[in-house]
Symmetry: C2
């Protein structure tokens, strides 16, 4: 019998806790079969057991690790690091460190999850101060991975290249990309555009011998076009691009709802077109793309949106399973090693023993 993939879950995280986390397990199994996958649920045993019964899940699939303690949704990262030991979030991540699980999923407080994950697992990407968050962005051509969308406010060229390495491996593992194309987000596509960091990162990706499929600079509208599979940017710009896009999507959907309920005639038309409109909203359903891994750690941790529903949490589990079963960690490790030699190689012309393989 093959060794099962174990996914460690923070059952108390997010706005809803066990009702959504356990329903998310059921949703994952319903959609993806769940063969060879087992779950470690950390949190209040009684609440978890009750939800497992409701969803007809047994101890064959779900193991419970009881704890009374949880990290509050408004707890500051520093506080969470000091006081979080033994909480459901902490224990979920620690199971990855202890190799009891191949990945952890939490819908808890992002800052706390990042701080605790970094403390327990440590960073594997030497240039990163904290984990990068990747967003799976629906496009006209599929899904594009955009990173960093939140944590690393100022990113130098080395960090941007690390994002490229991690984004490539993520896209391959989770979205099935074959030699995914990589673009750096900029204000124009010509080589001379943008600030020093993006131009230096572009140079390394073009010349660095990292073997990545680098496309070049891309602009904001290239994200939704799906021009490339992986869009690399600093955490400040990425976070603002992502939230701006969410705001625009919500704005248009509000206008559409207003329009289609503005008169009896409009309502009649909407009723008739409803199956097609539902099919459309399925394509931009946030729960279908929920789940952003924290990249750059020595282990896999996936952050689910705090307000995600069962389907959304189920998708975050799918991403965790795909990453845990893939070569993600190995590919990233190898490419980060290559980047390290590029960044710290002896100047051209001076032979160096270290760079001779």
């Amino acid at each position: 019998m093959p060794i099962p993939t174990v996914i460690s879950l923070d059952a108390m995280g997010g706005d809803h806790g066990p009702p959504v986390v356990v329903a998310g397990v059921r949703d994952y199994i319903r959609r993806h079969g769940g063969e060879g996958v087992r779950f470690l649920l950390h949190g209040d045993e009684a609440a978890i057991v009750a939800e497992m019964a409701r969803h007809d899940l047994t101890g064959d699939v779900c193991d419970i690790r009881h704890t009374d303690k949880k990290v509050a949704s408004d707890e500051k990262p520093a506080q969470a690091m000091r006081r979080g030991k033994g909480s459901s979030l902490w224990n979920a991540v620690e199971a990855v460190k202890l190799e009891e699980a191949g990945a952890a999923v939490s819908a808890g407080n992002t800052g706390a999850l990042m701080a605790i994950s970094k403390l327990i697992l440590r960073m594997s990407a030497p240039g990163l101060e904290r984990p990068a968050i990747v967003a799976s962005w629906p496009t006209l051509r599929g899904v594009t991975a955009v990173l960093d969308v939140g944590a690393n406010i100022e990113s130098d060229a080395e960090q941007l290249v690390e994002f490229a390495i991690m984004g490539e491996a993520f896209h391959t593992a989770v979205h099935g990309g074959v030699r995914p194309t990589i673009g750096i987000l900029n204000v124009g596509s010509e080589d001379v555009k943008g600030h020093d960091e993006v131009r230096e990162a572009a140079r390394i990706l073009r010349e660095g011998g990292l073997g990545l499929n680098y496309h070049g600079f891309v602009e904001g509208d290239d994200i939704a076009k799906g021009t490339v599979d992986v869009v690399v940017t600093d955490g400040f710009t990425g976070n603002i691009a992502l939230k701006t896009a969410e705001g625009v999507a919500r704005f248009i959907s509000t206008l559409l709802k207003q329009a289609l309920t503005s008169s009896l005639q409009a309502k009649a038309g909407a009723f008739i077109a409803m199956p097609a409109l539902k099919e459309m909203s399925r394509k931009i359903d946030p729960s279908a793309i929920n789940g952003g891994p924290l990249l750059g750690l020595n282990g896999i941790v996936v952050k689910s949106h705090g307000g995600a529903d069962a389907k959304g949490f189920g998708n975050a589990i799918r991403i965790a399973v795909d990453l845990a079963r893939s070569d993600y960690m190995k590919t990233v490790g190898a490419n980060l090693g290559r980047l390290d030699s590029v960044m710290h190689a002896a100047p051209a012309g001076v032979p160096s023993e270290e760079t001779v393989s």
Copy 2:
């Protein structure tokens, strides 16, 4: 008789030249009456005369300044500065400098327009290296001005505050804002978030005694919500936010069109709901918000989108007229003066003659 407002037009700029520029004049007059407004059209006389005849426009409204020369759409800014003298773009801007016109409008090459405008008119904002571009962004609550969306790639705190000053005066003049609220775009709304530049700009706006209606930090999704009237950001982030939003809007409208033509039933529903859907698309019609002034110059220059149609160009004219007739230049001048005292005041506690009014 009151002195007419004269608007100087680069008749050869943009993808279409005179057919759109002259039709834009007609569109402006049809929508806004055009009383007390006259136009100076720079470019090929024969082509302009032919279009004026088509649109029933006479010499009472349009004056022609012939030139054979035009700036190419792909001309580099430095080249345009060296070789652009006497072109329709150059002459349109020069008419503002010579006080023949209260504002200029061009749909020409953005880089060339910025470089030539800066050369001819000079910057009035001491912190800015080049003009800022403001976007009028449709929101759930009206229109929000977002700047800079393109030119100033790296913006320090002083520049961000200059954007706030210019954005406030722009919103008042063009969108009728009364004490418009101002927000700085950031990755969170807490005071501790973001990099040094945004935190320092926030401090100046909070404490600087500039008398602006400062709201605080806003996030990407606050733009489309209309949380504030003016969103201030560096040109890199602003350009990427704007283009990302355009990409998302186009993505959703493509999906909507696909959905509503996906079956006979969907087509029937769409046909019935069509009046409501048309009303909706009117609200996000790009030509209704076309026209981005270049801010920070000693004079008013409005950039129209190169591909704008007559309605779009007509709207750029409206923005130029509104700015030329308002207190925009005076308000900005006074507030930039105040900022200058704040930035270069003697340290607290040391009396200074200059700061005693």
